[in-house]
């Protein structure tokens, strides 16, 4: 039963990924990406990581993907962008290298099965504890939250609609400052040449 689900989800993820790369239209690719995400979420469930799986669905599918869709909607479609030659030209070597590496790894590394793996249970509580324990991941967690906040503010600031004039003014101000600095250094330069000139 579990193997069946694994094959199902793995296929979904792999197919979605391949489709994302291959499809001509961005919108199609986005939906293929959704399929890949969902497949990965399924794999997470199979791995007993229920919390991650739910996060995957919520954030990737519900958040990032929607963002990407907005991005697609706000930009014009570009039908001539995909060149099969490029995709295949890059794709085949990459797949070859990755595959070769994977094969090598598989042949080199000896995988040892851990004898007493715990039975997967609900993980939300342990993860939460791990994140908020002072000797656990508290500091990275807080840092990440700050990063998120900064990213939020930053993206809002960057995406804000600006006119060319305001940008021009800013650059002028910067130029003025540098001019002032230049003036000062010029003055110093003149001053330092003065005594020689006098004598």
């Amino acid at each position: 039963m579990e193997t069946l689900f694994f094959i199902l989800f793995a296929a979904l993820a792999i197919a979605g990924s391949l489709a994302t790369v291959w499809l001509r239209y961005v919108v199609h690719s986005a939906f293929a990406l959704m399929a890949a995400f969902l497949g990965v979420a399924g794999l997470f469930i199979l791995l007993g990581a229920d919390f991650i799986a739910v996060s995957q669905v919520l954030i990737y599918v519900g958040g990032i993907l929607i963002l990407i869709l907005f991005g697609i909607m706000l930009t014009p479609p570009d039908k001539k962008e995909r060149s099969v030659k490029r995709v295949l030209g890059f794709g085949i070597p990459v797949f070859a290298i990755v595959g070769g590496l994977a094969f090598q790894i598989g042949s080199v590394v000896k995988w040892v099965e851990k004898p007493d793996l715990p039975i997967p249970g609900p993980t939300a509580a342990p993860i939460g504890r791990a994140l908020l324990k002072p000797d656990g991941y508290l500091v990275p967690f807080e840092l990440v939250s700050i990063v998120l906040l900064v990213a939020l503010i930053g993206s809002v600031f960057i995406a804000r609609r600006r006119t060319m004039q305001s940008i021009g003014a800013t650059s002028q101000a910067i130029g003025g400052t540098s001019q002032a600095i230049g003036g000062t250094s010029q003055a110093i330069g003149r001053a330092s040449s003065a005594p020689g000139g006098k004598s």
């Binding site: 990924s17 994302t20 794999l43 990581a49 995957q56 963002l67 890059f90 342990p126 930053g154 995406a159």
Partner: protein, 99 residues
């Protein structure tokens, strides 16, 4: 199912992500490729976590997801801004710094 299966899925997704990032000419494809790469990594982390009996991998995965979200938001903002300035979403068109 053992660890190897998950790793293979992850490797395929990684390869797809790389190809998507490198071969497509639309900035949004690049973003999607990066998301794929990140997802592949997440899958790896969670799989190793499962077969190691530790939760650490999952916690890492969570951080990675959060950062992915942040990255996506900022990147899209940049994309929109670049589009507004250069009227193009091809990554090669903004080339002012090249001069």
């Amino acid at each position: 199912m053992g660890l190897a299966g998950y790793l293979i899925v992850s490797a395929v997704m990684l390869a797809c992500g790389i190809v998507c990032t490198v071969a497509r000419k639309n900035v949004i494809y690049i973003l999607m490729g990066i998301e794929l790469i990140l997802n592949a990594a997440n899958l790896n982390l969670v799989a190793f976590s499962r077969f190691n009996g530790h939760l650490d991998g999952q916690v890492f995965a969570i951080f990675s997801i959060i950062l992915a979200a942040a990255e996506a938001a900022v990147a899209l903002a940049i994309v929109l801004n670049v589009f507004g300035l250069f009227d193009s979403i091809r990554p090669d068109d903004p080339d002012l710094l090249k001069e």
